[in-house]
């Protein structure tokens, strides 16, 4: 029998706010153990939470970017359970009224447009971390405790690991476009739990689902999903039934094991947190949030394909980077160059420079104006394409205009035919051997052009040199 997999995801993303969700401690990653803590985030007796409104702002932004309805009155609830990394023994989260509901995320899988509905997005606090290698025993590091998270819960709309991966990539790209998450997978900025069930192909009833936890990378998600689908098919094919349970994925051993069965399902005893009052997003605030939503990645991707005539790979590469896509769109909006010309530079030399230097575009001095100016100079023939490549580092590193750089580096192209003719004639005069070779039928054009470029100190317009050299050789 053929089976169809049904997959739903719960994606947690850490929000890149300065301070934690309920106290003023830094939310930054990487401090010494328990350096970013205070009585509030360590749950000391009598300490009280005060909601960081930036969290509401960011969560609502993600909701708008994924087509959700935003609930204007944000309440908080307590999720009660015992674990040493949870100092209050409850997590402040949102239960029955999440900040965002009923969204939809679009993405492409092998050129085909797909979508996955979002049931909800809510905000909550992260827990601490247990470190088992620091001492003989366990150290609880509360630095991460109270770092704000949004949890995005999908409907069971995904049917393969490839779809799940593209969905996750689109969530990540969207978070980066909104500038609300630093998306550093290695620091655990984005994590997900995966629900998988199978059903005979062609049927619509949902099968018993299994939840998988401890999936920390997108490639890990692919492996975990493929494994779980295969496991479930194997169980069913051998006459077994799927148990509703939670399994832990081990990305080293490449298998999952039972963590909790349905019988040990926890009762979290959610109830409204009496320490927090509901926060209302008023019209003015809502307008501000709306105004901060840029053109979304999928829309840019489709524009690059359909309007700019790019290949899927080019469009994807540009979409994936908000700074690059923005550089392209701003450059194209100048109307002075073609989008394709800008895209070529961004995808080749600009990307190479950034990769080599291991820096981000937004951390350089590159601007769309500079890029456009440079391309225009090349198109006008003021500088050569090769000179453009020489100019490029200075565009990233200095505040000079393109003209100033060209001037300073002496890269202005000579297109004056009289001046170039003089150079050509001088080169022919000095290279008797080449001239003789030419007369004997050898192809020496390349050599002679090179000599002319050298004599012009690289500034001669190569097209004009080619033209005049051919003209002079023909006279011989």
């Amino acid at each position: 029998m053929k089976y169809e997999a049904v997959i739903g995801l719960e994606v947690h993303a850490e929000l890149s706010t300065e301070s934690k969700i309920y106290c003023s401690c830094s939310a930054k990653f990487g401090a010494g153990i328990n350096e970013h803590t205070c009585p509030v985030c360590t749950g000391m007796p009598g300490a009280l939470p005060v909601l960081n409104k930036q969290v509401v702002h960011y969560a609502a932004k993600m909701g708008l970017a994924t087509g959700c309805t935003v609930n204007r009155l944000c309440k908080s609830d307590r999720k009660n359970y015992f674990y040493p990394d949870l100092p209050k023994a409850y997590q402040i989260s949102q239960f029955d009224v999440p900040i965002c509901e009923n969204g939809e995320v679009f993405f492409y899988v092998d050129g085909e447009k797909k979508s996955c509905r979002l049931e909800r997005i809510h905000f909550e606090e992260d827990a601490g971390k247990l470190l088992h290698d620091e001492i003989d025993g366990t150290v609880v590091d509360f630095n991460r405790c109270g770092v704000p998270l949004i949890e995005m819960v999908t409907r069971p709309d995904l049917h393969s690991s490839a779809e799940a991966k593209e969905f996750l990539e689109m969530i990540k790209t969207t978070l980066s476009y909104l500038d609300i998450c630093d998306c550093k997978m290695e620091e655990g900025s984005i994590r997900c739990d995966i629900n998988v069930s199978i059903r005979p192909e062609g049927t619509t009833e949902l099968g018993t689902r299994v939840e998988m936890k401890n999936v920390n990378t997108f490639s890990g998600a692919v492996r975990a999903i493929d494994y779980e689908i295969a496991r479930q098919i194997d169980v069913v094919e051998h006459g077994g039934t799927i148990q509703q349970e939670t399994r832990r994925w081990d990305d080293v051993k490449l298998k999952n094991t039972v963590m909790r069965t349905k019988e040990d399902a926890q009762d979290y005893r959610y109830f409204p947190d009496p320490d927090l009052i509901a926060v209302e997003i008023d019209d003015e605030w809502m307008k501000k949030i709306e105004s901060e939503i840029p053109e979304l990645p999928i829309s840019r991707y489709e524009r690059y394909l359909n309007e700019y005539g790019m290949t899927a790979m080019e469009a994807r590469q540009l979409m994936d980077s908000f700074p690059k896509a923005t550089l392209l769109d701003t450059a194209a909006a100048s109307g002075r160059i073609t989008p394709k010309a800008a895209a070529n530079w961004i995808l080749s030399d600009i990307s190479k420079y950034l990769n080599d230097k291991e820096i981000e575009l937004q951390d350089t001095k590159m601007t769309a104006d500079k890029l456009v100016d440079m391309i225009c100079l090349i198109e006008k023939g003021t500088i050569s394409g090769a000179a453009g490549k020489k100019v490029l580092p200075a565009l990233f590193e200095t505040d000079e205009t393109v003209e100033q750089i060209v001037e300073r580096m002496g890269l202005k192209q000579v297109s004056d035919e009289g001046a170039i003719l003089a150079i050509v004639q001088e080169v022919l005069a000095k290279n008797e051997k080449a001239v003789n070779d030419f007369k004997n039928g050898k192809n020496v054009t390349g050599f002679l052009v090179g000599q002319c470029m050298k004599a012009s100190r690289g500034q001669g317009n190569p097209q004009i040199i080619n033209k005049l050299l051919a003209q002079e050789l023909a006279k011989l």
């Binding site: 009585p39 007796p45 009598g46 009660n80 040493p84 023994a89 005893r269 109830f271 009052i277």
Partner: protein, 489 residues
């Protein structure tokens, strides 16, 4: 000079005129504690050294000509569930027997800013759960008026140290009557402010939506002084904090002219459950008010009968969550009897660290929040809470304040009610509605029973009606002369 017998207002004047020094005053009240607290058991911790140092600092400031607050140099005792930086804050629980907070409650910062002298931490029912102070894991507190009787609770220690003149003022906390009932039992003034008027930051939570810090004193003016000192809008630390219309101005606003004040007597509060001496004393107070020109009439608050179950559902639900953090991992009591098993560590630390009443409420609260019971209990109680609020709002369209008894009886003997928790809970019948509705309540003495035990009365006001309550209280205090009552010890 027996400074300890004076009110805070009197002492404030004497300190300002340099008739006495803060050190003399501190020495005097600390000597009183040495003389009587062995019998009373009002304190868990006496901070003699720091109190004397604070007093000396106040004197130095005054000598240097600094402008000081009205409370500068005045000794104040603090209930042991309010966090005091570097000083034991035990909540009268074995669970926090060694807990020294690395931070101050907002009220402590406020008091420090006004150069108040802190004399120590007062006894209470464990985690503020109880009505007799017998649930303290440390020791019971005795009623200074009759050492065989309870002082009330949970702020029994705070009430007792004020009633026994060990200190003119004390802070308590009130979740269902924990300031007002001990004030009534000990013959002192106690006030539960409007929810949100005083920051809860640093008050170890029992039931967050009901808890409120408030003052004890031996006069209306003294209670007003202390409430003025701690009222503070604190949005940076307490989301439920609100800006009050009276911030810091209650004492200055005192006015005993209450002609035309409309006082409602809810008939449900004077029924069968209320003992005759209490009912008669409160009704006599109503007569006094009439004589003072107030308009006194009967009203009805029919939902009052539901207040007790609503209170025990909501407060226990919140407590079960608030007290879950005491797990033996981070601070406080950790069982020496657990092996390597994490669950074993939790179970044993909590079973050994919490007393019976606390465990009872945690179980009750866990139950009412559990899947399948939430709707029947917690959700229904929240809905009923809204109804009670509406009922009070309706009542305050007819009257300015509501006059009721505080407790069904006067203070009873230690041990007489500990066998039956429900009987103990029933003693909160007159006070819990005020917390459920988030209203201010003022308690002051209005007489004595045949055994010469104090009887208190309760004035309930609309939200932020503190000034009206204190004015009405002052009028009665002046008319009755029931002020600065000190237990004979």
């Amino acid at each position: 000079m027996e400074l300890f017998k004076k009110t805070a207002a009197e002492l404030s004047g004497m300190l300002k005129s340099k008739e006495i020094s803060a050190v003399e005053l501190a020495q005097d009240v600390l000597a009183r504690t040495k003389a009587v607290d062995e019998q009373v058991g009002g304190y868990i911790t006496v901070t003699e050294e720091t109190a004397l140092a604070q007093a000396a600092a106040v004197d130095a400031k005054r000598a240097a000509g600094e402008e000081l607050s009205d409370l500068a140099g005045i000794p104040v005792a603090i209930k042991d569930n309010i966090c005091t930086k570097g000083t034991l804050t035990t909540c009268a629980s074995k669970m926090l027997y060694n807990f020294k907070p690395p931070y101050n409650a907002t009220v402590m910062d406020k008091l420090a800013g006004q150069d108040v002298v802190i004399t120590g931490k007062a006894n209470m029912d464990e985690f503020a759960m109880g009505s007799s102070c017998e649930n303290s894991a440390m020791h019971p507190t005795h009623n200074p008026h009759n050492l065989n009787c309870v002082p009330g609770g949970s702020s029994g220690g705070s009430a007792a140290v004020v009633a026994s003149a060990q200190v003119p003022l004390a802070l308590g906390s009130d979740t269902g009557g924990s300031i007002r009932q001990p004030a009534s039992f000990c013959g002192v003034v106690g006030m539960k402010p409007t929810y949100g008027a005083v920051s809860r930051y640093g008050l170890v939570a029992f039931a967050s939506s009901l808890d409120q810090i408030g003052p004890f004193g031996r006069s209306i003016e003294d209670a007003a002084m202390l409430l003025d000192a701690v009222t503070a809008y604190d949005p940076r630390h307490d989301s439920t904090s609100v800006k009050t219309p009276f911030e810091g101005g209650l004492r200055a606003g005192l006015n005993a002219d209450i002609k035309g004040l409309k006082i409602g007597l809810p008939k449900e509060y004077f029924g069968e459950g209320i003992s005759a001496p209490v009912r008669e004393a409160v009704l006599k107070a109503a007569e006094t008010y009439k004589a003072l020109g107030a308009e006194v009439f009967e009203i009805s608050l029919p939902l009052s009968e539901y207040a007790l179950p609503i209170y025990y559902i909501l407060s226990s639900a919140e407590a079960s969550s608030n007290l879950a953090r005491y797990d033996g991992v981070k601070y406080g009591y950790r069982t020496p009897n657990a092996g390597d098993d994490l669950i074993d560590l939790y179970v044993k630390s909590r079973s050994e660290g919490f007393g019976a009443e606390v465990q009872r409420r945690i179980m009750l609260g866990t139950y009412v929040l559990s899947s399948g019971y939430y709707d029947a209990y917690y959700k229904k109680a929240r809905a009923a809470q809204r109804k009670i609020r509406e009922e009070f709002a309706g009542a305050f369209e007819k009257c300015d304040v509501i006059l009721t008894p505080v407790a069904p009886t006067t203070a009873y003997e230690l041990g007489s009610k500990t066998a039956d928790p429900l009987e103990m809970y029933a003693g909160d019948i007159c006070t819990v509605s005020v917390n459920i509705a988030g209203l201010p309540g003022l308690v002051q003495p209005c007489g004595f029973d045949a055994a010469n035990m104090p009887i208190g009365m309760q004035l309930i006001g609309p939200a932020f009606g503190e000034q009206t309550l204190l004015n009405a209280g002052l009028a009665f205090e002046q008319a009755s002369g029931l002020k600065n009552i000190i237990a004979a010890l």
